[in-house]
């Protein structure tokens, strides 16, 4: 199962209006080349799920700056002023989700759970429209799963089966996002043969990955 494809091929079936998850924390670990390829291809009215919107010129923020996002789920948008402007002027519909809840909602989507109970957000605006459930006298919010048409993530290394290894803090949301999309596309700094990654130290198993782009040798 060789999942390695060219970068144009990797993103070519992404359509206007699709829901995308994009990895990276303030663009640390963001799939910059995949995002560029997507912008080059031309796409709009995206629903974006990304913990922050990077900076104006990095990470998923590049899609915001180009006004390609219709609806955004994020935990923090303070580092990209354009996101705040679009939100306040009603151009983009922004749902702020606590960071831990966001990670868990994505995991629930990928892991086949119907939702989970958390105390995070009780007594705040995050409650709005959500079911409250009391267990053993404690009140929780029922948070529901998030899924996407595509996940775009970055890894330090991938093998042909799509097993991934991350470096440092670049993993962040990538691992959970990989599980929660119909099609997960990885930009890997290095692509190696099956067997070259120690199976004990795979961060994201290839079962969650559909396409791998060799970011070190991007050619389209």
């Amino acid at each position: 199962m060789d999942k390695v494809v060219g970068i144009k091929e990797a993103v070519k079936d992404i359509r206007d209006g699709d829901t995308l998850m994009i990895g990276g924390f303030m663009a640390n670990g963001a799939p910059e080349k995949l995002i560029d390829a997507l912008i080059e291809q031309g796409i709009k009215d995206i629903t974006l799920i990304s913990t922050d919107t990077g900076l104006v010129t990095t990470g998923s923020g590049k899609l915001i700056s180009r006004k390609l996002v219709k609806k955004l789920y994020a935990s923090h948008i303070g580092t990209n002023k354009e996101t705040g402007r679009q939100m306040n002027e009603g151009e983009t519909d922004v749902e702020l989700v606590p960071q831990g809840t966001l990670a868990e909602r994505i995991r629930a989507g990928g892991y086949g759970l119907g939702g989970f109970l958390t105390e995070t957000g009780v007594g705040t605006l995050v409650e709005e429209g959500k079911q409250k459930i009391t267990v053993d006298g404690v009140e929780y919010l029922l948070e529901t799963p998030l899924t996407a048409d595509y996940a775009l993530i970055h890894a330090a290394k991938a093998d042909r089966n799509g097993n991934l290894v991350y470096e440092g803090s670049t993993n962040n949301f990538s691992n959970v996002m990989a599980s929660a999309a119909k099609v997960t596309i990885v930009e890997a700094d290095e692509v190696v043969e099956n067997g070259e990654i120690n199976p004990n130290f795979v961060h994201t198993p290839g079962v969650f990955v559909n396409r791998v782009v060799d970011g070190g040798a991007v050619n389209g």
Partner: protein
């Protein structure tokens, strides 16, 4: 004290709250400075909510690594014995009560321990990031901030900005003193000798109870 000195003073006092062997998460801004003042006989492990434990000092030319940033996006290092993980694990650590202490800034705090620090509707909306999870999950919450903002009260009877969490704050540390949130209300336990109790009360909207064992605040 100018703003810089003020922040260092607060950070130094907060650092005394760190217990040996504890796991600590420091928020962005003033709280980050706390790491510079850890007592020599105290060993703490710092958690960075973007995905690791064992947060070390900023990078130098020798330790340059574009793959490691802290929760503020700044290049940092990891100490020997640290570990990286993904966001779901990171917030499992936070939500599950495995962080002993978190230090955060605030726009407003009130006498019930409510805190608002993530949005001013229609104006500034940075978002809550990991703050809601930290406030709910950490075993102890310290708010470290300047006592007032441009002369306006920040320690209120009741927050009027959207809350980040209900009843989550344990202690408030400012340049004027140390205030504990108790079931009876706000208890002033330490005071900066540069101020009188009356001055601190005047800078505080909520009623302050004064600890009968009121101590001098030392940074």
């Amino acid at each position: 004290m100018d703003k810089h000195e003020l922040q260092e003073f607060i950070a130094k006092r907060v650092a005394k709250e760190l217990e040996d062997g504890s796991i600590v998460n420091l928020g962005i801004g003033l709280p980050t400075k706390v790491a510079n003042y850890i007592p020599d006989d105290v060993e703490v492990l710092f958690q960075s909510e973007n995905g690791f434990v064992g947060l070390g000092p900023s990078q130098t030319e020798e330790t340059y690594d574009p793959n490691i940033v802290n929760a503020g996006g700044q290049p940092v290092t990891i100490k020997p014995g640290g570990a990286f993980f993904d966001s779901s694990v990171s917030f499992g650590i936070i939500r599950g009560g495995h962080v002993d202490l978190t230090v955060l800034g605030a726009l407003q705090v009130d006498e019930k321990g409510n805190i608002a620090n993530y949005m001013i509707p229609g104006k500034l909306v940075p978002g809550m990031g990991g703050a809601m999870d930290l406030l709910n999950g950490a075993k102890k919450v310290i708010v470290a901030m300047q006592h007032t903002a441009k002369g306006n009260h920040k320690i209120l009877k009741e927050c009027n900005l959207p809350l980040t969490a209900q009843g989550a704050v344990d202690t408030i540390i400012t340049e004027m003193g140390v205030i504990k949130v108790t079931a009876e209300g706000l208890l002033l336990t330490e005071i900066n000798p540069e101020f009188t109790v009356e001055e601190v009360q005047e800078a505080t909207e909520a009623k302050l109870y004064v600890d009968k064992d009121l101590k001098k605040m030392k940074a």
